[in-house]
């Protein structure tokens, strides 16, 4: 899928987008951005614990009530906090991720048969997302070989070491968090808030980036850009949900 072309006028805290040419406008209101998420969609969400997750987008998704979602994320926040809200609200059909011990409601919902859960080792999870973004359908890794998490997966020995074939993990929409964007959607990140965000930006058909600051094109040092703009289709500036970066 190519660049998402938005015809919409600037709205809701997106006043920084004034200099954009209209047919390349990546600045949508929260409502317009949320409308891109359909019931039953596969949604990737960046973050590790509560660091670097797109808080405003997740809050809005929880408020929207859109359901039947497959959420692809490292974890599911804490009970009733962050992504945890989606589970509390019953919006989740399936989870693909790696660590839900911080939110015991996940195990509860899983054991009660309310949701499906696919656990993937963290490094494999990261690489599978990266693979989806860079056109690699599957790869072999030694992690999990012979364990319960490799059941049903193809295996093959390389240089005497058993490896597991892992499939790439793509998504319909990625909700990511970055620190600064320029008006084209080039992104830089902040400390350990980076985590899965740059990988997910590459792996989804539509990537919506929630950012703290938007600067004019040319202001970001090209050497420091982590996510080039072609991977970002929509930019949302953090508003009342955000506050200062450390807030």
């Amino acid at each position: 899928m190519g660049r998402l072309v938005a015809e919409t006028a600037l709205a809701g805290g997106n006043e920084d987008g004034g200099s954009m040419v209209r047919d390349r406008n990546k600045f949508l209101s929260m409502g317009e951005a949320l409308a891109l998420i359909k019931p039953g969609a596969r949604i990737m969400v960046g973050g590790f614990g509560l660091a670097g997750y797109p808080e405003g987008l997740v809050e809005a998704l929880a408020a929207s009530g859109v359901g039947d979602l497959t959420i692809i994320s490292n974890d599911l926040g804490s009970p009733g906090v962050g992504l945890g809200k989606l589970l509390t609200n019953g919006q989740i059909k399936a989870l693909i991720g790696n660590y839900y011990n911080w939110n015991p409601e996940v195990a509860e919902a899983y054991h009660a048969g309310r949701i499906e859960v696919t656990l993937i080792p963290q490094g494999t999870f990261a690489e599978a997302i990266r693979a989806a973004g860079v056109g690699i359908p599957a790869f072999y890794t030694a992690a999990a070989a012979g364990t319960d998490l490799a059941v049903g997966k193809e295996t093959r020995a390389f240089d005497g070491r058993m490896c597991v074939l892992e499939r790439a993990i793509p998504a319909d929409v990625a909700l990511i968090r970055a620190y600064r964007a320029d008006e084209m959607g080039n992104l830089v990140y902040y400390k350990t808030a980076r985590n899965f965000n740059p990988l997910m930006a590459m792996a989804a058909a539509v990537t919506i980036a929630e950012v703290d600051e938007i600067v004019p094109v040319g202001e970001l040092d090209p050497e420091s850009i982590v996510t080039p703009h072609i991977f970002v289709q929509v930019i949302i500036r953090r508003n009342q949900h955000g506050g200062p970066d450390n807030g």
Binding site: F48, G49, L50, A51, G52, N74, D75, N98, Y99, Y100, N101, W102, P104, V106, A107, E108, Y110, H111, V117, L119, I120, P121, Q122, G123, T124, F125, A126, E127, I129, R130, T141, A142, A143, A144, A145, G146, T147, D148, L149, Y189, Y190, K191, T192, A193, R194, N195, F196, N197, P198, L199, V226, D245, N246
Partner: protein, 226 residues
């Protein structure tokens, strides 16, 4: 045991001994620390050329952050706020696990439910519990050059953690290199479990009776000192 050792003293001893094993190597090392006792290792490492890697994307993890140092966007893999060290760097999770899988991390220090005579480790899930998560454990034990387990010798209710054969779900097979408990330090040498240091509170016979796994005592068995 002649002198019982408290939980907190046990944890501190384990962390100190592992830290010393890094200092003793006197070379540049990149280490990854799991949650619990392993995280404490950072408090006792003295070498300035030991770099702590956090799999959530930081090489050069400093001390735990306190007071106004706390930044919610700067955490370790246990979600604790941490500080930076000079020369630290940030990277995405795929690069982070590329370091691990690619053999660029010298050692991982992790806890365990069980380690067995074959060097198998079970540490990712307790099937009788209400947890659901694997984290980076499987990637770390297969990828790090050295796997160091820091754990208390037995469970709180007295069950063995160094066992003949793991009964809990396995994280990695024949991956463990070193096990440090409050009662001794054990190395896997050519697939055999060898006791190399023993705590002052126990005799060799007492340690055997407290350990389900069979082990050899090194001919150069040393006392374990704090």
């Amino acid at each position: 045991m002649a002198v019982p050792i408290t939980d907190s003293a046990a944890r501190e001893r384990i962390a100190r001994r592992i830290a010393r094993s890094f200092d003793e190597q006197q070379r540049e090392l990149v280490i990854n620390l799991g949650v619990g006792i392993p995280t404490m290792v950072a408090d006792y490492v003295t070498g300035s050329d030991i770099f702590v890697q956090a799999e959530n994307g930081l090489l050069g993890v400093g001390r735990l952050a306190v007071g106004d140092q706390i930044d919610r966007q700067l955490i370790n893999a246990g979600r604790q706020p941490v500080t930076e060290t000079p020369g630290c760097s940030y990277f995405d999770s795929a690069t982070s696990f590329g370091m691990i899988r690619g053999g660029h991390v010298d050692a991982t220090v992790i806890g365990a439910f069980q380690v067995d005579e074959a060097g198998n480790i079970a540490n990712w899930i307790n099937p009788s519990g209400r947890q659901l998560g694997v984290g980076g454990a499987m990637d770390l034990v297969t990828g790090a050059r050295q796997v160091i387990v820091g754990m208390q010798h037995n469970t709180r209710d007295g069950r063995a953690k160094l066992v003949k054969r793991c009964t809990m779900p396995i994280t990695g097979f024949a991956e463990v290199d070193l096990v440090v408990t409050e009662l001794g330090m054990f190395r896997f040498v050519e697939g055999r479990l060898v006791l190399v240091e023993i705590a002052p509170e126990v005799s060799l016979e007492e340690l055997r009776s407290l350990t389900e796994a069979r082990f050899e005592a090194s001919p150069r068995l040393k006392p374990m000192v704090d």
